[in-house]
Amino acid sequence: MNFQFSDEQTLIRDSISRFLADEYAFDRRLTLTADGLGYSDVHWQQFAELGWLALPFAEQYGGLDATPVETMIIMEQFGRGLMVSPYLSTIVFAGQLLANAGSEEQCETILPDVITGDRLLACAYAEPQSRRALSGVSTRAERDGDIFVINGDKSLAIYAECAHTLIVSARTSGVDHDAHGVSLFLVDTPTAGISMTHHRTHDGSRASDITLHNVTVSADKLIGELDNGLPALDFAIDVATAAVCAEASGAMWAVYEQTLAYLKTREQFGQTLGSLQALQHRLVDVYTSCELAQSAALDATLHLGADPAARRRAVSAAKVTIANHGKTVGQEGVQLHGGVGMTMELPIGHYLKRLTAINAAFGDANYHLRRYQNP
């Protein structure tokens, strides 16, 4: 049993941390998230140069074969620095879904460009009516000789706006909520028949509603087995969920540290707020929540390679822990800052927004509490 980072992991962590401090100061973030695609191309190229886009992929595609622990480290730091970018959508989610379930040819075609930062990916799996169940897929892909014709609506695919290639789940047999009969397809964008409505979300991220109308893709765009796309999607969602849990843990620590620093300096009625016992005890609870959240994110990360039931339990447990504690920490951060905590100018409210978005992503606490019991 050992929970120490290796020296190399520590160096990666420190390197990301310094990058964020130097290149992603809070006012820069405010500008970047306000307009356009919500992130910086220049940063993305730096990510590529620093090897961060290569981390989880196999060496044969130019990757670094890193473990989930390295992804956890980078996401924790992104959480601390409130980094919004297509990293989660491209590298963690769609990228690893393809890497795990795609053919060698598909991987060879796509992953090297992903690693160099030239191609962005996104995953369009949720549907307006599906709400929670992964099998709630009404989008249909009908086979017509060597092509599939896809029709349906996908909702709130994160960072689909900037993606060059989407992974789309569609039903190739069965009816809504059948676990069997869902297939995954690579769909380049723009493509005839795809229209998107782009949204800015409160946390400064981007997400798009996507309508597919007679979108045709060749049969070699099918990822993995026909009708059997859900297990791979389920795994990839768990990978992404563990990653946002790590991000949340980092964000929570940042809230804790910034709030602690504020309480130590802010004076009222002639004494620092930090000298007030009621606030001390509340900040102790915040601190405890941060420790628990960090443990939960680690728990999920270390179980990503376990058997599916154990993996699902660990990931769902982490998501519930993050939900229970992240919400409170975000709220306490704002409350203990008082008025300034409510302003756009201070990061603290933006942490609350990101923590709130994470709670809503990939299934809320109630969903995961059920999934934990029936993994």
Binding site: T201, A207, Q331, V334, M342, Y367
Partner: protein
Amino acid sequence: MYSVPAASLLRFARRDIGLAAMNKSWSPEIEAFRREVRDFIRTHLPDDIRCQVAEERMDLPREDLIRWHKILHEQGGWGCPGWPVEHGGPGWNFEQQYVFERELALNDAPRLMIYGVGMLGPTLMEFGSDEQKRRFLPPILRGDVYWCQGFSEPNAGSDLAALKCRADRDGDDYIVNGSKIWTSDAHHADWIFGLYRTASDGKKQHGITFLLIDLDSPGITLRPLLMFEGTHEVNQVFFDNVRVPVTHRVGEEHRGWTYAKYLLGLERFGTAEISRSMASLGRLKTLVAEIAADAGGAYYRDAAANVEIELRALELTERRLLFGPGGPDAMGPEASMLKVRGTELQQCILELTMEAMGPAGQIDRPRDAQPGSNRTQLEQAGRNYFNYRKTSIYSGSNEIQKNIIAKAVLGL
């Protein structure tokens, strides 16, 4: 003494003066008044305004607030429900005022223009000169002048009396320098009332002076302070050698703290917003009623029921305190409890609404996209949740309120 049998007490009571004086219902007169008010609101509140309130907006445009105030004013001074007849108000008793504000809330009418109507007006009636009353009260009554309040300062949040913004006497004027912060609606307002330091020796509560300042005066600039979800409600107001005639001073020089305490006491009842939460809860219940069982419907319905039960108990607590022994005047620091618990529940309702919306609750839509449709109301759920985090901070943070209760109720 306990040997007085219940029989002798009760027999006497029942026969001669009626037994259970307790009554959870309104008298027929008040009930008729309530129906009149409700019907008036439902028929006269413009739908575009109603929709904005039903979206939980606290940042209504100036024009809409004034338009609605004038509609109420036409009805017999209803825009100033607490004002006596001599100043043009309806002269209602406390029950009527309570019922009126409750019906406004339940029917999604805007909040009153509180700074002029609820705070400065009554303060001038109590402490203003005759000239000040003549000059300032009628425009408030008619909704012609929009007031805001300048109390907080950058380094004096909850510790109001630590304020530093200076007013130096220069002949018949004060010259004001410094800044006020968290000034709600300063960007809408015509005038600002507030506290300024005229002396800095002695206790910090001494040497504070209450001034009325025209926001068009030379030397005043505003800096908008956006809420972290993007709403513009508060501002920092800078004063750079702003001249204020001495005639615009309320009461005596250096004694402003006294008037401010009176004024802030007027605010106490409003911030719990229990009736507004009832309206919000109604929207939440409509939303969660439609969530399928396998999408967590039971969880959200249970949660909504739980907050409804808590709100119900709080509402009855408010009524017990207002209509119990001593009536509303007997309500003291208990109001702080209503504020703490009221804002907690208010926030809880909006949080549940956002959570029940799922990922769609996270979309950042502009405030004015398609106002009016029910769908759009709910699409503001995320913004509302974030925006209302302020309610446990403003008007004396909930921590300060608990300090007040500990001291004034518990005696600690």
